[in-house]
């Protein structure tokens, strides 16, 4: 098999991993090739609009596990390939010198045993770091069930280590990934957390969940994320809209990946991490799923209209963050600006703050953007929903029935 054929198989198998971030590591160049960039660098964007920052490949797609949603499950008849450590090093270094990539994302099917697979991953990355003196970014996947000492060894070589949660609930995992369990997955997260330092996974750990393969609600998913953030200090939880690659009685027959739902989950995830929201504020057992038509923050605002409109020239930083359309950057600009002048609607525009959504929820120096009578739930909702519908209709080929998630 040629290198090109191997790359085709092993990049194709790795493409469902959402993470491609290369940020968070300031690894210095020590005379060899490469260095980290703390903000991360995107080197290209593929046809699906996702950033390409790392050479994202599996070491092998040979796998002893039989996860029902996975294209590489043991019982699937697909072409299999294995990269040797030297081959991975050669492609990584050649791509890096030409500035195609920021580093390597190395994952693998479970080959022979979790420990054997981990040893091979370690061998590859050890070569890169110590034979070729490569200081670019490396993100590796830990294999659930591998021994602690191997996780510790790998953590010292890479910038980020992650282990996939796969499904938002233990039941889903039992049903769809019978060879994996939460205990093994969380054990690895715990080992990484305990050892985290400037030299051990400096860019921290992350995880990924598949959305729409199991029956879990958005409420289940957000609770799971919130638990993972709090317990294991994860940097990111990635959500990956389920793409139907296998037929199985336990799997839903989705024609299109639930991209809009994935989008809402990412929005809510940001609300947890940067906007100080709690899951309970956004969802509850009676309303377990996000409204597909309105983003979670606007949805919250519409349900708490009595707290609005907020006066831009007086509201606290945290109150400003609650306004749909205003994020941390805009809130900080407003706080700085109002120290030296009184902010009007025109000023907001000049400052580069979009008032398209915010205008319904704010006063500027006591002035509402229209007459006060329009400050009503129905009116605002109608306008915000209209905007979403336009956006959704813009995306050709994506037909969404308007209420399919919220019903």
């Amino acid at each position: 098999m040629t290198i090109k054929e191997k790359l085709e198989i092993l990049a194709d198998s790795a493409k469902y991993d959402a993470s491609c971030s290369s940020s968070g590591s300031a690894r210095e160049n020590k005379g060899g090739l490469g260095a980290g960039a703390i903000s991360g660098i995107c080197h290209s964007f593929s046809n699906d609009g996702r950033c390409i920052s790392l050479l994202k490949i599996l070491m092998t797609n040979c796998c002893m596990f039989d996860c029902k949603y996975c294209v590489n499950r043991k019982t699937n008849r697909v072409k299999r390939a294995i990269f040797t450590p030297e081959e991975i090093c050669e492609i990584t270094l050649s791509f890096y010198r030409r500035n195609y990539i920021e580093g390597l994302f190395l994952s693998s099917g479970v080959y022979k045993s979790p420990d054997y697979t981990m040893e091979k991953l370690i061998e590859t990355i050890f070569l890169l770091r110590h034979k070729y003196h490569f200081s670019g970014y490396i993100h590796a996947k830990a294999i659930p069930g591998a021994s602690d000492y191997l996780v510790k060894k790998l953590g010292l070589l890479v910038d980020r280590l992650s282990v996939n949660t796969e499904l938002p609930s233990e039941n889903g995992l039992k049903l769809l990934a019978p060879n994996k369990n939460y205990q093994k997955i969380e054990h690895i997260m715990d080992v990484v957390k305990q050892n985290k330092s400037k030299v051990f996974t400096p860019a921290g750990e992350s995880t990924q969940m598949i959305i729409g393969a199991s029956k879990d609600s958005d409420y289940d998913i957000m609770n799971r994320s919130s638990f993972l953030y709090e317990t294991y200090d994860l940097k990111r939880v990635f959500y990956s809209a389920y793409i139907s690659v296998n037929k199985d009685p336990f799997l839903p027959a989705l024609e299109l990946p639930p991209l809009q739902r994935e989008h809402r989950l990412y929005q809510a995830d940001f609300l947890l991490r940067f906007y100080h929201y709690k899951v309970e504020q956004l969802l509850d057992p009676l309303h377990p799923n996000f409204n597909i038509l309105v983003d979670p923050k606007a949805d919250w605002a519409l349900r708490h209209l009595s707290e609005f409109p907020k006066e831009i020239n007086k509201a606290s930083y945290y109150d400003l963050l609650k306004v749909p359309g205003i994020g941390p950057t805009s809130a900080k600009k407003i706080i700085q600006g109002r120290k030296v002048f009184t902010i009007t609607f025109e000023d907001l525009k000049k400052m580069g703050i979009s008032v398209k959504r915010a205008k319904y929820f704010i006063l500027c120096n006591g002035v509402y953007f229209a007459n006060k009578e329009v400050f009503q739930k129905d009116f605002i909702e109608k306008n915000l929903v209209l905007e979403t519908k336009e956006k959704i209709e813009d995306k050709k080929g994506q037909q969404l029935s308007l209420f399919y998630e919220s019903e």
């Binding site: 990049a11 995107c42 290209s44 964007f45 046809n47 994202k56 670019g136």
Partner: protein
């Protein structure tokens, strides 16, 4: 001499521009425009006047009066290709002299917003090009890249690659401005075409194979069910495609 309402001409360098602005503000002359000598086209209506610096320490003078963050912003904006950058900087510095401590907060002033917008654009393009630049390997081991950015970002870009590839030899060519960053034997110089001409630039044996491999990876990594070319173009505008191997035929 009635010196307001002139077009002022400076000699193509940041020092000269800083001096010109300093000179105008000191004399309380209000320009209708400030133009570099290279870009100046005389017209029949406006009178023009060329200012020539006679100060050596113009940076120090400005630094003392407005502080180094403002001066840093001015340096960045000067790299932009904005046609009115000089006049915008004049107003920005005029206000910075009045409010050196709070100038960045004054988002009610047009010149402050303009300056911050241009500064952000230059930084963004520098950041993007750190990702979008593509080197080709030559037989003599040199890595060679061409680019056509909007702003003059070659300097900070070259230092970025020196930091991460100290043992390589490379050339980065800003095609529109026809300037080259030339790095070899751990020395970085900014040179003109004649010095690059001496290099023997033939692709290495592996070059085309690596480009094919990269294209294979690029095509494979996209998930067809998620295709979204609008999103792709938003992040990677067409103006950068010319030298992107993966976007070529």
């Amino acid at each position: 001499m009635k010196a307001s309402n002139f077009i002022y001409i400076y000699e193509d360098s940041l020092e000269e521009l800083l001096y010109t602005i300093y000179y105008l503000i000191q004399n309380r002359w209000k320009p209708i425009d400030i133009v570099s000598e290279r870009n100046f086209v005389p017209n029949l209506v406006d009178e023009s006047f060329k200012v020539k610096s006679n100060l050596l320490n113009i940076y120090e003078i400005w630094k003392e009066r407005v502080g180094s963050p403002v001066l840093q912003t001015v340096k960045t904006v000067f790299l932009s290709s904005h046609p009115k950058k000089e006049l915008i900087l004049y107003y920005f510095l005029l206000h910075a002299l009045k409010n050196p401590k709070t100038i960045y907060q004054h988002r009610d002033l047009k010149c402050v917003n303009e300056v911050l917008k241009i500064e952000k654009y230059v930084h963004r393009e520098t950041h993007k090009m750190k990702g979008f630049l593509r080197f080709k390997e030559m037989k003599n081991g040199f890595l060679y890249a061409k680019m056509e950015p909007e702003n003059c970002i070659l300097f900070s870009l070259a230092y970025h690659f020196v930091r991460r590839m100290p043992n390589e030899s490379f050339v980065i060519h800003d095609v529109k401005r026809n300037i080259y960053a030339f790095y070899t034997e751990k020395k970085l110089n900014f040179v003109e075409e004649s010095q690059i001409k001496k290099l023997d630039l033939i692709f290495s044996d592996e070059e085309l194979e690596m480009e094919k491999l990269w294209k294979t990876f690029f095509d494979t990594i996209a998930i067809q069910e998620r295709e979204n070319k609008n999103c792709q173009r938003n992040f990677m505008p067409k103006k950068y495609w010319k030298y992107l191997i993966e976007m070529g035929p």
